[in-house]
Symmetry: C2
Subunit: 94 residues, 2 copies
Amino acid sequence: VALLDDKEREAALEHLPGWGYDEERRGLTKSFRFADFAAAFAFMGRVAVEAERRDHHPDWFNAWNRVEILLTTHRAKGVTGKDIELAAAIDRAA
Amino acid sequence: VALLDDKEREAALEHLPGWGYDEERRGLTKSFRFADFAAAFAFMGRVAVEAERRDHHPDWFNAWNRVEILLTTHRAKGVTGKDIELAAAIDRAA
């Protein structure tokens, strides 16, 4: 899987509202808030299924109703098409 | 819910192998590793049910097969009996 260059990544981000690029962690980040823990974890369950199906997994943090996601392709050391596709799937799951 | 004092917390930790106290975050921490993402997330599902049942929730991070947990009672600004009980339930779920 090939790294996206800056231009490709920025073009992709235009279609992913709320997602940003974290230079230090070389990944896409977005923070989600839900009504409560149950809603947040139900969202995480939907994302987990998408992640398994694609064999591409988020790095993520949850505290009660908040879920913070980082998407990066560890093998490629940065953002690839796999991250863009998973970001879109995560938005559909939210 | 009352904060545990240092002595009470240390006594409780003796019965919770692998758990430590993070002074800065004023909480109990433990890192778990599983065979893969599916096993890690299945564990998180079991913990989520325990957390909801107790209305006491972990702050946690997952990256593939790794789950890092912080237990603290935000309202009390530190470790209480609720954290000790949830830590024991988490160990049973692992």
